[in-house]
């Protein structure tokens, strides 16, 4: 009897410490690779602006970040299914998503941009000039929604699961023009070895119904306390210069 009691007590202690460990850890869903936001170093380690900022925030809060890699088109359902507790994966805050998830304050507001091979005469402010063109977007992104609504009737839209596939098809000239987050396009197209790409027309942050309010960290609606902790930590790292240091590491000096 005594033995049984001590065994079950031991079991309880183990369970308790396991529960404790759970609270010290925040699992964050991320979709890679989107250089420079989140990608892998050649030896396989996760890195990027989101990753470094996320780790800095976790450190500030005093929890351990565990990054869970998840494909983009299932990233919100994954949060709902409790596969992780937050999403920090270049997700733009918009009203559609607000109905699903709770967002932190925006932590960065990058524009979207059109990318095309050098010497293109496409004019993206003119719907006519994109008629019959093949436009590449990533499936399920705000860029996809924007292009589908604006040019769905006049242009061919190719939707890709990953940005890599899209860039590969751009290089093989299967696509005439791409529409994606500027930082992603900058690192994959402008800074690539080929290097023969340019940004076409204005970068876009309007209208808000598509481009929203910058990138936010997403939480489940009921996890208000957790979101609040992250917001406080975000304010602190902006205050003490950690944010600027991480920013310049990935985007150079100027914002």
């Amino acid at each position: 009897m005594k033995k049984l009691l001590s065994v079950s007590l031991l079991g309880l202690a183990v369970a308790a410490s396991a529960a404790q460990a759970q609270e010290d850890q925040v699992r964050i869903g991320v979709d890679v690779p989107y250089e420079p936001m989140e990608y892998r170093t050649p030896d396989g380690e996760l890195t990027g602006f989101d990753i470094d900022l996320g780790n800095a925030l976790c450190e500030r809060i005093g929890v351990e970040c565990e990054w869970v890699v998840q494909g983009w088109d299932g990233i919100i359902p994954g949060l709902m299914a409790r596969k992780y507790d937050a999403i920090m994966s270049s997700m733009t805050i918009n009203d559609d998503r607000r109905e699903q998830v709770l967002f932190s304050e925006p932590y960065i507001t990058p524009p979207s941009a059109w990318f095309a091979p050098e010497g293109t005469d496409l004019d993206t402010t003119n719907e006519e000039s994109l008629a019959g063109m093949t436009i590449g977007v990533q499936r399920g992104t705000l860029q996809d929604n924007y292009v589908t609504d604006m040019y769905g009737d006049v242009a061919d839209i190719n939707r890709y699961s990953t940005a890599d596939d899209m860039v590969l098809d751009m290089e093989s000239k299967r696509l005439d023009i791409l529409f994606l987050d500027y930082p992603v396009g900058k690192s994959t197209l402008l800074d690539s070895e080929e290097g023969n790409y340019v940004v076409v027309g204005e970068m876009l942050t309007e209208p808000k119904e598509y481009f929203g309010d910058g990138f936010g960290i997403a939480f489940r609606q009921r996890d208000e306390a957790l979101a609040e902790q992250f917001n406080e930590a975000l304010a602190e790292v902006r205050e003490d210069g950690t944010y600027d240091e991480i920013y310049s590491r990935y985007f150079g000096g100027q914002e």
Partner: protein, 243 residues
């Protein structure tokens, strides 16, 4: 037709997901899936008959290349074959300067090639099995009538092998329909592509995928019914006789 569209529009006004726009995505997706699967099956079937006969050839230089082909295409996932043919072909030096690029540039043809090669490999093996299991008596009878090996093949072995292969081939057709769901990884807007689009746009996995599952189910049952009918007609002489 216009009255019907207005009626449909009113019916759809109630929900936010199945609008005319998303339904037209599903409609286009259905067309693409049916085209892709139908074409690959027809071409695959035409290619499989000579391959199946060659597979049973006495000559090593006919037999082994066909064996290698079916072995590779049945031994690797269709998804990998599709990736190789769509994205891999880009890395072949100089291919973009040839006429081949014109047909490989669009995603439809690479997908069609991958699907055709895959189904032809399976169909070849199905037919080979059916040819091999032709009963000795039928062949001996044909020879006794003075038919040459070619005539025996054409008149006796192939027709009876076709009939025997029918149930297995019906399965292959259904497998091919289901396997075609991967076409959306190379940006083809097939049925699954349409469902993924709706899913990503409205974050509604159940609505998007249950709807598309129902469409696949209808297609599958249509194929099943068609093969049941064929079997009943072509295998009538093998049914037990009711007195």
């Amino acid at each position: 037709m216009n009255a019907f569209m207005t009626w449909l529009e009113n019916q759809l006004a109630e929900n936010s997901i199945f609008t005319l726009q998303t339904l037209s995505y599903y409609g286009d997706g259905l067309t693409t899936t049916v085209q892709l699967v139908f074409l690959s099956l027809v071409i695959g079937l035409i290619a499989a008959v000579p391959l199946a006969i060659g597979r049973g050839s006495k000559h090593a230089w006919i037999k082994w290349p066909i064996f290698a082909y079916t072995y590779v295409f049945r031994g690797t996932p269709l998804l990998i074959q599709l990736y190789l043919i769509y994205y891999g072909v880009v890395f072949v030096d100089g291919i973009q300067e040839t006429w081949l690029w014109v047909i490989l540039e669009e995603p439809f043809v690479p997908a069609l090639i991958a699907f055709t090669l895959n189904t032809a490999a399976y169909t070849t093996e199905i037919f080979r099995g059916a040819i091999k299991s032709t009963s000795k008596g039928e062949i001996e009878a044909a020879r006794a009538y003075g038919m040459s090996p070619q005539q025996t093949m054409r008149r006796i072995i192939i027709p009876s092998a076709f009939r025997r292969a029918l149930p297995a081939y019906g399965n292959e057709v259904i497998f091919m329909l289901h396997a075609s769901a991967i076409a959306s990884v190379v940006t083809i807007m097939d049925l699954t592509g349409a469902a993924r689009f709706v899913y990503a746009r409205f974050y509604a996995p159940f609505d998007a995928f249950l709807f598309v599952a129902a469409i696949y189910l209808c297609l599958t049952f249509t194929i099943l019914y068609f093969f049941r009918y064929l079997e009943k007609k072509l295998l009538a002489h093998l049914q037990p006789q009711n007195s």
